[in-house]
Amino acid sequence: MPGKRQKSQYQVLRKKWLVRHKQAKAALHQKHKEALEFVSDILPDKEKIAPAAVGLAMLASSLPASNALAAATNQVIRPKEEAVAEIAPIDKKQALLDELKSALPQQVRPLTVDEEGKLDEILSRTFGMEVRHEINGLRLNRTYGVIGAEQHLMRYPGDTMATHLSPSEVANKMIYSSGMAPGRGAWGYFTRAGQNMTQKDVERERWYIAVQTFLAPEYNTRLSDYRGFFKFRKMLLVNPKAGQAIVTVIGDAGPAEWTGKHLGGSPEVMYHLGLGSGSRKGGVLYFFIDDPSDTIPLGPVKL
């Protein structure tokens, strides 16, 4: 582009790796908040810092001595922004809920293109990621629908409930009691053998959703375009009533139209959406996340 200064290789890599680190650190703190805060409490006074920065402090031993990078990584959580986040987390969530209330219809129905466009903007701005109702002209049949509960998926041949869950998940009655689906997901096993399973495979199954890929517009006539598009595609799920949000992946196709539901969530997804008990279904927004570098971690997103 004329007049536009091209970034150096250093600048491109630096930006990418800083963003990745910021997101990983936020996810780390979010997933293990209680344990991190506990350790912060018991450290000697001089080591104490604000709870939200515990994640950074726990990684402090790896921060470099160089002033330039120390300044850069401090920019990832600027003190002023952090202070604002500390005092106004409820406000941010409430602001989102207020915006969604005016942007969404009262009943759970397919949204118009204008409504979807507006939600692209609201969700991208709120969560700091590229949230889209379509990517390169490819999309699902809808973006606002009723989600129902799915079972755990077999990650590899021989995966059972005994091998499937972490110790804290076993202790979670809702996550444990969901059981395992008898068949594989739409993309087969996540890995060929248990010993080859990576953390990525674990996270994908944990945070999977099932969507009605077969109802995508022109699905049968555009199979070559859709091939590969849906498999493990990241999607942001938002509960518009209570504000929970999760970064998920498409791990299966379904549910059938006759069920009256429009998508399904793994036990972990349902639990973290606040739909883990009672009727175990509810209206949710589900939008694609455009993340070609695969830097956005899966799991709950905190506001």
């Binding site: 150096s8 290789q9 250093y10 491109v12 890599l13 630096r14 990418k16 790796w17 800083l18 990745r20 680190h21 990983a24 650190k25 996810a27 780390l28 997933k31 293990h32 209680e34 344990a35 991190l36 506990f38 350790v39 018991i42 450290l43 080591e47 726990m58 990684l59 031993s61 790896s62 921060l63 470099p64 160089s66 330039a68 990078l69 850069a72 990584t73 972490s166 110790p167 804290s168 202790a171 990576t198 953390q199 990525k200 674990v202 570098s293 695969d294």
Partner: protein
């Protein structure tokens, strides 16, 4: 090569080949050091996340406490008693992160 802080898992992972890849780009010496620092930070976060995933809440707290105190030997005693094949899990995560970072370097060289 710049000397960086050692972690309890340092003997299991190495980013030396990443540094070689960076040497084939246009980044300067000081820029390379800064990027390597970032790479190490990214790796550290991923490894800690992997470890914490496999621990109960009380075991997480003990692990983090030992890590904050720098008790490497006790860390390994604790992890080996709580998580099967923890070393393998750490090296798998390191491999994954390294692969992502190498891919990023490949992409900037192409553009």
């Amino acid at each position: 090569m710049k000397s960086r802080p050692k972690h309890f898992y340092s003997q299991l992972v190495s980013l030396e080949d990443l540094e070689t890849d960076l040497g084939l780009t246009t980044v300067s010496g000081s820029e390379k050091e800064e990027l390597m620092d970032l790479a190490h930070i990214n790796l550290h976060a991923a490894i800690i996340d992997t470890i914490l995933f496999h621990l109960t809440d009380s075991d997480k707290k003990k692990f983090l406490e030992l890590m904050a105190l720098g008790e490497d030997e006790k860390i390994w005693e604790h992890l080996n008693s709580k998580v099967e094949k923890i070393e393998e899990k750490i090296t798998d995560t390191a491999k994954q992160i390294k692969s992502q970072l190498k891919e990023d370097i490949k992409k900037v060289k192409r553009n």
